[in-house]
Amino acid sequence: MTLLSSVPGRLSVATLLVTLTAPVLAQETPQSGGVANVAIQPEPPGLMLPLVQNAPTQRVAGNIFEGLLRYDADLDPMPQLAESWEISDDGLTYTFHLHPDVTWHDSEPFSAEDVLFSVDFMRETNPRTRAALDHVADVTAPDDATVVFTLDQPFPAFIQAFEVGTLPMVPKHIYEGTDYYNNPANRHPIGTGPFEFAKWDRGSVIELDKNPDYYEDGKPYLDKIYWHVIPDAASRAAAYENGTLDIMPAGSVENFDIPRLSEMEGSCMTEAGNEYFNPFAMLWLNNREGPTADKRFRQAVMYALDRDFAKNVLWNGLGQVPSGPFTSSLAAHDDDLEPYPHDPDRAEELLDEMGYDGEPVRLLPLPYGETWTRWSEAVRQNLEDVGIHVETESTDVAGWNQKISDWDYDIAFTYLFQYGDPSLGIARTYVSDNIAKGSPWNNVEGYENPRVDELFEAAAVENDPDKRQAMYDELQQILHEDVPLAWIMELAQPTIYRCNVHDLITTGIGLNDGFKNAWIEQ
C-alpha cells in the first residue's frame, strides 16, 4: 500500500523544507478566528469543481469540496472523507470506510450513495478521472458508510486517484437526473468542505464562510476567506505589500518579484505543496517532420539550452534542472542519469553532422504570463546562438491549444503534471497508442518506440517494486538518448504568505487541498 514511500532516500528539497518547518509550527496551539485574504489569478470561470477543472477553480473550490483521501508530502494517503481504507493483497480490491456525521452544506447527510454517484458523474465529465479509473471494474456500496472498488488488474497507482481534484464528491440529491451543466447549483456550489460558498462579486472577490457544522471538531479555524481577483501582477504585489493580501499562491507573484516579497518583514515563503502535481516544463519537439524529426537535432537542442540560466534568472533559483524524463522527486527517478550539459559547441557539431541547412523552426511559447514569455525568448536566443534559425509564433491559450492539438508546431513550450507515479503522468507523453490529434495532453510529439510502449505497460501493473524500478531505469535511459522532447525544468511552486499564518500547507496537494488547518496568530 505504501509502495512509494517505502523507497528510501528519495526526498526532494521541497519535502525537506516541509519536514524541517513542520515541527516548529506544530508546537503552537491553533487559534480560532481571523480572515484570510488570498490572491487568485486568473479569476476562476466557475466554482463547481466537479465540472470545472482549471487551476484557479481547484484552488478556491478545494475548500468547498472534498475527496475521500488527501496525501502527505511523500504522497502517502491520509484520511479525509474516508476515515480508513484497506487494499487486498492481490491489489484488486479497495475498501473505504466513510467518516460518520458528514453533512453537505445544505445539511443533507453525506453517504456511500453520494460516492457512487460521484464516480459516475466524474467519469462522465472529466477525462482525467476517466483515465485514473480506467482499471475499475466495479464500484459498490455494501452499506451507507462503505464503498468498495474492484479492479480488473493490479494498478498500484490507483490509491492516488482520490484527491479532491480527481474525484471530488458531488451531492447526489442535487445533481441526480439533472442537466449537470445547467444546474442552478453550479452558481452556488454545495460540498462537504470546511468552507461554504458565500458570495462572488465577479471580477473582484469570492467570499467563503466557515462551515460551522464541519465534521472535524474545532476546524476550520478561519472565519472567512476572501479570494481577491487582481489581474495585474504588479497590482497584486502592491496589494501584498500594503497588507491587503495575506497569501500569494504560486503563480500570483511574478518570479522577479519573489525575492523582494519573500524578504519583506513578516513574510514567509514555502515551496511545499506541489509534490502531488509535480509540474514539469518541457519543449515539445515535433518528431514527425522538419529538422526536429532528426534525433541529432533534438540532442543539439538539449545541448544548446542553458537551463541553469533559466533556473537562476527566470525562476530565481527555484526549481531544478532535470536530468531526464522523470522528475527528481519521483520515486522511480534514475539517479545515475547525467543531465545534458550546456554545450553549444557540441550542439553545433551535431547540427553539422546532420547537415542542418538553417531551415527555420517555429517556436510556440506558452501564453501563461511574463516568465514563460521571457523563457521563450531565452530559448530562442540559445538556439540562435548555435545557428538554429527560430521564428516565434505568439498566440493566446486557445491558439496554443489548437496548434498543439493539431501538431502544427516545430518546438512548443508546455508543462505537464507528472503526479506521483509514472503511469499517471509520464507514460501518456511517450506511449504510441496515445498519439491522437485533438488533445494537447497526449503523445503530441509523435514519438514511437515499441520498447518504450512495452516497458510502460508492464511497469504500470507490476506489483514488485524492484522489477518495476529496473523497467523504469531502462525507460529513462532510452528516452534520455532519444530526446523525444526537451526537459527543461522541474517547476517550483512557491507560496508567499505572512508568517503569522500557520499550517497553511499540510499536504502534498498544497493550497488546492483547502485551508482546513490554517490559522492566524492574533
Binding site: 504585489a237 518579484d257 511574463e370 514569455t373 521571457r374 525568448e377 536566443q381 546562438d385 505568439s394 498566440t395
Partner: protein, 277 residues
Amino acid sequence: MNFFKRFAQNRGALVGLIILALVVLLALLAPFLYPDSPWRMVQRPFLAPGEIAGFPLGTDTMGRDVAAGLAHGAWVSLLIGLISTVVALAIGVPLGALAGYFGGKIDDALMRFTEFFQTIPNFALAIVLVAILEPSTVSIVLAIAIVSWPPVARLVRGEFLSIKHREYVEAARLVGQTHRDIIIKQILPNTLSPVIVLASLMVATAILLESSLSFLGLGDPDTMSWGYMIGAARTVMRQAWWLSVIPGVAILLTVLALNLVGEGLDDALNPQLARAR
C-alpha cells in the same frame, strides 16, 4: 520657401523636428551601433544604467543590453507607426474621396461602412484583430490601420464636400475633365494639408497603440519594440525602475515630437489659424 519659414517660426515644432530626427537617426544607426541581436543576453541581469562601462542604460531582466533594445526598438516603433499610417491612409483617403465626391447613395453606403467601424470600440477591435491574426508585425500594422482609417475617411470626405463645389472644380467639369482627373488632380492636392497634419498625429497614435498591444502581450514576439520593453519590465518596476522608465520616456518623447511637428505643420499649412496662435 514660405512654408519652411513659417514652420521654423514655431519653436515647439523645431524642437519636435530635432527630437524626431534624433530618433530616426538612432533607428537608422541601430544596425551599426548594435550589430548583434538586441535579444542577446550579454551581461548580468538588472545592471543599473552606468553600473558597468559599455552598458550606458544597463541591462534588463535577462541581461540584455537596454541601449541596444532602445535603438532597435526605435526602428520598430517608427516603422510600425509609419506603415500603419500609410495603410490607414490608403484605405481612408480613397473611401473618403469617393464618398465626398460622388455623394448620394455612394456616400451613404461608404459612410455607413465607416460608422460601422467607428461603432466598435477602437482598442477592443485592435485587440481582437491581433489576437485573431496572431501577433506579428504584419497583423499589428493591419489592426492599427483598420482601427485608424475612419477619421481619415471622414476628414477627406469633409474636405471633398467643401472643395467639390469650389468654382475651380466646376470649371474643370465644364472643360470636360474626367471624374478621375478631377478627384486626383483638382481636389486631392488641396486636401493634403489637413491630411498631412492628421497623418503626423496618426503616426504618434499608432506608436502608442503598438506599445499598448505589446504591453498586453500582443506584440510581435520576434521584434524588440519599446512597448515590449515596458510590458516586459512591468513586473520588475519596483526592482528596476529604469527598465520601464527608459522606453517609456522614449515613447513619450517620440510621440511628443510627432505632435509638435504636427502642430507646426498645421500652423505652416494653415497660415490663417497660425496667426491666431
